[in-house]
């Protein structure tokens, strides 16, 4: 039956995440926003607790590595609800658990979430693409992801970092920028091309442990927001990695393109959407309270136009937020139920990304000078949210993906 309520079984998980966000992340938000690259040591304790939770199963598989899909992936088998066996009934699994817990954590602090040990985007890549042996070998590593280069952002097929097979190693050469957790992580998942002349089919990802010779973290960026998250530039010069560190298959399958690597994004887009949803919710909740203190109550029954402009604006923001929230849950639900969700993942990221910016910025305006001042966190959330509409596929790329799918166009036809 159709029901969009938060799954009952995830309530404890969400409750825990909320308590962490409230009692550990929020109290440290302003501190690390100001201190920027200082390491948030409080997170180590938290990471240990989360590892413990993951092992015990109490976290329902939530987190960056919760995004794996089952190996044997039949398409939707077309059975009706009643024809499905108990086992086949609707799943609320690790993808849904992940987005829900990430929403809570980002209600706390987006930058600190991105700084959580062992919750890197590289971990999601490993979960999505690595084979079973690699999953085991890389378990417990905190992995960042290095894709973007100075000259290559949205058109990731254009990357120039090379990986050349030499004996039992691949030799990596190139420069990566905007690597989240690039300094603090234990290893970096690096996208490199085996042969640029073969195009995107030759792009593979490699797990490069920190300390490998020829890999150098050159600098950290000073940013508008998520300042507690270290964003690094990493240079690779003659960097040797064992060939077993190439994630998944080394075959250059021209037909497959780099679908394997891109599969990561189908799984991580809902997570980024969840970050935006959580951050925007923080702004909405505080703003609602501030409006109440200013004598403005939001009424869901009376027509918006019969209420104050502030209340009407709030209703519009909350309505768009609800849409972003549910689109995000839908994308995760589809992943859990092994339905292809590329379109819905992009819809979720597009909507959540723009709602995140619109809501957090408007809330600052509604709150006036206290929205703008560092006395409150509203201004910080308006700075943190901006990146969520940019990384992991910009707003414009998401719209392009959705458009191509709806119109049935290839990338050659619709640029």
């Amino acid at each position: 039956m159709i029901s969009l309520e938060t799954p009952k079984k995830f309530r404890p998980l969400i409750g825990q995440a909320h308590q962490v966000a409230l009692n550990l992340l929020r109290p440290n938000s302003r501190k690390y926003d100001l201190l920027e690259h200082e390491y948030p040591k409080e997170l180590d304790m938290l990471a240990a607790m989360i590892d413990g939770l993951s092992e015990s199963g109490a976290s329902n598989g939530a987190g960056a590595s919760g995004v794996r899909r089952s190996e044997d992936e039949p398409a939707d088998d077309g059975k009706t609800q009643n024809e499905k066996t108990q086992n086949e009934k609707t799943q609320n699994g690790t993808n849904l658990a992940s987005v829900l817990s990430i929403m809570e954590m980002c209600w706390g602090d987006v930058g600190l979430l991105l700084s959580m040990p062992r919750q890197g985007l590289g971990n999601s890549a490993i979960a999505s693409v690595a084979d079973a042996e690699q999953q085991e070998r890389f378990a417990g590593l905190w992995a960042g992801m290095a894709i973007t280069e100075p000259g290559t952002g949205s058109d990731s097929a254009n990357i120039a970092t090379t990986a050349v097979l030499d004996g039992d190693d691949y030799v990596l050469n190139g420069e990566k920028i905007f690597v989240t957790a690039g300094d603090r992580c234990d290893a970096v998942v690096v996208w490199a091309t085996l042969d640029k002349s073969l195009g995107r089919a030759a792009i593979k990802s490699f797990v490069v442990p920190k300390g490998t010779a020829g890999m150098n973290v050159e600098r950290l960026e000073h940013k508008l927001g998520i300042r507690s998250s270290d964003t690094a530039t990493i240079r690779f010069e003659g960097c040797r990695v064992p060939k077993e560190n190439l994630l998944g298959s080394s075959e250059v399958d021209v037909k497959q393109g780099f679908a394997g690597a891109m599969a990561t994004f189908d799984n991580t887009r809902p997570l980024v959407a969840a970050m935006a949803v959580g951050c925007a919710r923080a702004s909405l909740e505080l703003t609602k309270e501030l409006l109440e203190q200013a004598g403005v109550d939001v009424d869901y029954d009376r027509p918006a136009y019969n209420q104050t402009a502030a209340a009407a604006t709030f209703l519009q923001m909350e309505a768009d937020w609800e849409a972003a929230y549910l689109l995000t849950l839908q994308a995760a639900w589809m992943a859990d139920n092994r339905k292809p969700n590329s379109l819905e993942a992009s819809m979720a990221k597009a909507k959540a990304g723009r709602v995140g910016s619109d809501v957090t910025l408007r809330c600052v305006e509604l709150a006036g000078s206290i929205g703008y001042s560092e006395h409150e966190l509203l201004e910080k959330w308006a700075r943190d949210s901006k990146i969520l509409d940019i990384f992991e596929g910009t707003q414009q790329i998401q719209q392009l993906i959705v458009a191509r799918r709806l119109l049935g166009k290839t990338s050659a036809e619709l640029k």
């Binding site: 039956m1 768009d320 619709l414």
Partner: protein, 450 residues
Amino acid sequence: MSQIRPSKHDATSGESRDPIGIAVAVLNRLAQTSALDRFGLRRSTERVVFETTRSGFRTIGALNRTFARQGKKSGAPARVPAAPGNGVFDLTPSEDEQMLVDVVSDFATEVLRPAAAQANEDCSAPHEVLASSLEIGLPILAVPEDLGGISTERSAMAGTLVAEALAKGDMGLAVACLAPGAVSTALSLWGSDEQQSTYLPAFTGDDEPAAALAVNEPRALFDPFVLQTTATRDGDDFVLNGVKSLVPRGADAELFVVAAELEGRPALFLVESACAGVAIEADPSMGLRAAALSRMILKDVRVSSLGLLGDTDGQAYAECVRLSRLAWCALSLGTAQAVLDYVIPYVNERQAFGEPVSHRQSVAFMVANIGIELQGMRLVTYKAASRAAQGKAFGREVGLARRLCAERGMQIGNDGVQLLGGHGFVKEHPVERWYRDLRAIGLMEGGVLL
């Protein structure tokens, strides 16, 4: 009575006529006379019911049947239970819901869409269309099985899917088909045993009446919780006065549910069309023309104690407003989907500068955003509907759905015309009608009910 100020054709009160203006006005009147003859329009002026005139062409309520009073005051009304929730996030319709949607979708495609353009011109729904909608059981969707309906549990979710499927065919015709169901649903949800026994048999029998839920009133910033239509107690009776606007199929309706303020609180009243003091006037509007929108004028309309539907402390009324808004949201989903389905092949086929216009990002992104916002509207509406079906509080959710569907739904209607360029503006294509229909979402109250 229905106008507070003499019509100045929507010019504001600052305007006045000078001598040239007077001359032009005289010319205008002369021109209209000869135009009538030139275009052979004399005959169609007799179709005055659907021309707005200042004096208005009013009819009494539709020739009615008598509803013989049945049932016991002390009897227990039939109610359907809430659908049991199972704590799982799920977007899969049940098998029953899917079957219903399939049937209704076929009806929408085969019957509603082909009849839509003409119905829009005629400002009414063809009799055959209304008859077939009765055959698929629309007015009895929410009526308890015990009383001859097909409902075994709260059907707000199924009703949402049905309304969406109908509106994908045509919103105006969907409203015409769903209007009587608003009254049967209201009776099922809030009717006493007496009211159910007296009125529901007509809906579950062979000769179903047209019926309408009248809430809107003709003024800007109308708030359904601040009504100017009043109900005054007189002994055991109630006397109603006021004007209702945008009432679907008002001229046909034999039974109305009317929103009126009783002792300071809004309440619902059953009014038979035969009641003295009921007059119906045409209210042709921007869209939903197939639904034959009307104004209902109540002048000292007397109803017995049987007329008060639901409680007097505003609870049933609030639920009614919310469930009606939910229905409008559901309708907007279908029409918005119709827009998306129509524009995609159009922009892929239409060529400019040597290639399909869909190859331009500005066009492609407009299509993408229709898709994104529509899916957002859909999920927010479904959440409100599923909560209503499960008996959970849904005021917040339906308020958000309303805001979203009004804003984004209209944007979709607007973009639908824009994407067809000049062709979107002419009646050869349906997008201009969907543009007009989608504007209703943000302002309609009553009319339909889930």
